[in-house]
């Protein structure tokens, strides 16, 4: 295996992990807002119970992603930094409003609803905007003026492609988070909340699939190369659809315990997580070898080998050291019944 291959694979893993964790995190923030005023259901409470200990950890994954891009692919960092100035700044502003106001809303009682709304809505925009960075990297939106790369913001805002990606980002986060929270609710023995999130997931599942198909249909003329490559990855995408079908149908499987309502949310979550894994892998392979089409390729922008080696070693050591702590964390907040089922 070459260093390039390892670095690229790692970067894909980080993107994938953050896509899932980020979607669940921001989506849960949105559901916490939606169910905030409905005191009858525990749905909002559960979303908060999940979010309060986990949002910090999720945020570190975002930082990890950004840092990995510039440490593995420094010259891609130049172009990405230049063209993403405006969209990146917008993302930062919404992200900040989201995190800060969420913490504030945990703390004060006055204005809690307002704070929740600000944080829920800004959070909703973050994954949508993050996903809409993708069309920028696949061609048609960057122009070179006086040797300087520039983002064609006007064109981006008028492009249907941008909006299909945006819609995909939105529906993905809502779907993934609803699905995850249905499992969390089952674990917490909150069947009413489980049913709420299950029916949301049932609605949102097909919508994400449709949005994904639309993004491929509406790709820019300059991004046709990507469409062609995506067609070549048919095999992987079919597997991904199969995973979706398994996961989605698990929402109707009979429950393990008779007292529970229909559905096996744990299997549904695993199926859909596998679906996203296969699909992002296929998408990343279709995007290969470009980071930003057509000017930045993976081979050309990979960092020097001493640095790469040092990074990989530190990555392995760091992950091994942290692993037990992650497991401890998981057991305290995702498994411990006394936390999940507190009143």
């Amino acid at each position: 295996m070459t260093n390039t291959f390892i670095a690229t694979t790692l970067l894909w893993v980080f993107i994938y992990v953050y896509a899932i964790l980020g979607s669940i995190d921001f989506g849960a923030g949105f559901w916490a807002m939606v169910f905030e005023t409905r005191k009858k259901t525990k749905a909002g409470l559960l979303a908060n119970r999940f979010l309060s200990p986990s949002w910090e950890v999720t945020n570190v994954f975002l930082v990890l992603l950004v840092i990995s891009v510039f440490s593995f692919f420094p010259s891609a960092a130049y172009t990405l930094g230049t063209v993403l100035l405006i969209p990146g700044s917008l993302i930062l502003i919404f992200l900040t409003l989201r995190s800060a106001f969420m913490v504030f809303s945990f703390t004060t009682e006055s204005y809690r609803t307002t704070l929740k709304y600000i944080s829920g809505i800004s959070g909703l925009l973050v994954p949508a905007l993050l996903v809409s960075v993708l069309p920028i990297t696949s061609g048609g939106f960057i122009e070179i003026i006086n040797g300087q790369e520039q983002l064609l913001l006007g064109k981006l805002f008028r492009s249907p492609s941008e909006y299909t990606y945006l819609a995909f980002g939105l529906s993905s986060q809502l779907f993934l988070s609803a699905l995850f929270l249905s499992d969390y609710a089952r674990e917490a023995l909150e069947e009413a909340a489980y049913r709420t999130y299950r029916s949301l997931a049932i609605w949102l599942g097909p919508m994400t699939l449709a949005a994904a198909v639309l993004t491929v249909i509406f790709m820019e003329p300059e991004a046709q190369w990507l469409k062609v490559n995506i067609m070549e990855q048919r095999g992987w995408f079919s597997l991904s659809v199969a995973a979706f079908i398994i996961g989605y149908s698990a929402l109707w499987w009979p429950a393990k315990q008779k007292t529970h309502s229909k559905g096996r949310p744990r299997i549904a979550v695993l199926g859909i997580v596998a679906q996203y894994g296969l699909a992002t892998f296929a998408y990343a392979s279709a995007h290969w070898p470009y980071i930003v089409y057509p000017m930045i390729s993976i081979e050309e922008s990979i960092t020097n080998s001493p640095m790469l080696q040092a990074l990989l070693i530190s990555f392995i050591v760091g992950s091994l050291l942290l692993l037990p702590f992650f497991i401890y964390f998981w057991r305290l907040f995702m498994k411990d019944r006394s936390y999940l089922r507190q009143k």
Binding site: V63, I67, P74, M102, F333
Partner: protein
């Protein structure tokens, strides 16, 4: 405004904002660790109450520290693409290791806050130890990037190409160890003094509530002692940092001291303003020979002045003022803490006079001002370089920054600064100390 100036103003403001919360994020967990340990040793539940209340305040501050840190991390890429291209090839390692520190901090912070009731007292101490460790490590690691900019090492630069990279040599560049210690000690000092400030203020307010006054007095003494120790450490180590400037960044030291002519037996000028027209320091107090002594431990030490360097490479002359603010605050605080303990000793049972408490309310904000002055000095004293003698600011900056962005981010920081204060005040008003203390008493009777 041109793109370079906007980038500098924007990034400088983002960091100046982040550093407030980041510094407290290093200092306060350390204080919480100490009171958790004291509680274990003494069995005094007041320390438990302190841990609980400080943690609550700290959790709110983290709500700003983390997003603002994320801003800084991403904005570096957006505003300094040229710099990041260089960073990626040379000094990426500490950034990556810092991620593990962030994870450590985030994981154990959540455990400490949301699982405290399920942990045994010993596990709680370990948990908060990891929080403090993660926060301190993130400060120590990020300093590697900053010191690399001041004293780059670990690579060869030829015809615009970076070759022969040695990531560990870049990491442990010449000014790293001293600066990392300085950043850590000054953050611990600031965290402690922030608590002193609040305790001093509360002591002024709770004269006729003896139970609460006892509580605040414990916090007051404890934080004053720790802040005092850290401030001495900061100063001793700061002296080392200045000697390293003399060695590695002579023009920065020259600007910091307002020294124009190279000379042996160089004077130290305290205060005053370096005048760019006359090339003198106006209204300063001159101590002959002192600078040579401080820089090289001898009056014969030859200290290089600004005239020895081309004028287009001079750092801005206002760095003299920034440096004076930092050192002045450090010195003042050491004397103040010393004075307080002398007064205690002399007046015994009578305690401190009220005017001294009023003065002590200022120690936290002053420390923070020292931190800000120190950073702005370190970064602007490096001008016109982003990476000393390697990359100029113009070559590091983006070409597409605009005023709109600056206004947007500044408004965001202003908004957050106001709201975080409101939220903290509202929280502690709704949860008065008396309640917490009563709870302890009740629990004590039960067991």
């Amino acid at each position: 405004m041109d793109s370079v100036i906007i980038s500098r103003s924007l990034f400088g403001s983002s960091l100046a904002f982040h550093i407030i919360f980041a510094t407290l994020g290093v200092g306060i967990p350390f204080m919480i660790l100490i009171v958790e340990i004291l509680r274990k040793i003494t069995g005094d539940e007041d320390y438990g109450v302190m841990a609980k209340r400080w943690t609550k305040g700290f959790a709110v501050l983290l709500g700003v520290a983390i997003p603002s840190g994320t801003i800084v991390g991403v904005q570096m890429n957006l505003l300094w693409p040229g710099f990041m291209e260089l960073v990626g090839q040379t000094i990426a390692l500490p950034f990556q290791i810092e991620i593990y520190a962030f994870f450590l901090e985030a994981i154990f912070m959540s455990i400490y806050v949301y699982a405290a009731d399920r942990l045994s007292p010993n596990i709680r101490i370990i948990t908060v130890f990891f929080v403090a460790l993660g926060a301190s490590a993130s400060a120590v690691l990020i300093t590697a990037a900053n010191t690399f900019m001041n004293t780059p090492a670990g690579f060869t630069y030829e015809n615009g190409e970076i070759i022969d990279v040695d990531p560990w040599a870049a990491f442990f560049n010449p000014s790293y160890v001293t600066s990392a210690i300085h950043v850590l000690l000054s953050a611990l000092m600031t965290g402690a003094f922030a608590i002193t400030s609040v305790a001093a203020y509360k002591l002024l307010k709770t004269r006729n509530k003896p139970r609460e006054a006892i509580f605040h007095h414990k916090a007051f003494i404890l934080s004053l002692i720790i802040g005092g120790i850290m401030s001495v450490g900061t100063a001793v180590n700061g002296h080392q940092a200045a000697q390293e400037l003399h060695q590695y960044q002579p023009e920065k030291l020259a600007a910091a001291e307002g020294l124009f002519e190279s000379q042996t037996n160089a004077p130290l000028v305290l205060g005053g303003f370096a005048d760019p027209k006359t090339h003198t320091v106006k209204y300063g107090i001159e101590i002959p020979g002192m600078l040579s002594l401080l820089a090289g431990n001898s009056f014969d030490e030859y200290v290089r002045g600004l005239y020895e360097f081309p004028e287009e490479n001079w750092p801005p002359l206002y760095t003299h003022t920034l440096f004076n603010i930092m050192v002045g605050i450090g010195t003042f605080l050491i004397f103040l803490v010393g004075f307080v303990f002398v007064v205690y000793f002399v007046r015994k049972k009578k305690g401190l006079p009220r005017w001294l408490f009023r003065l002590l309310v200022l120690v936290g904000p002053l420390s923070m001002l020292g931190i800000e002055a120190g950073w702005v000095f370190s970064c602007s004293g490096r001008q016109p370089w982003t990476v000393y003698h390697i990359q100029r600011v113009e070559d590091a900056a983006t070409a597409s920054a605009n005023t709109m962005l600056l206004v947007l981010f500044l408004s965001l920081y202003l908004l957050l600064a106001i709201i975080v204060v409101i939220v903290l005040l509202a929280y502690f008003k709704r949860k008065p100390l008396a309640n917490d203390l009563n709870n302890v008493k009740r629990k004590g009777l039960e067991t």
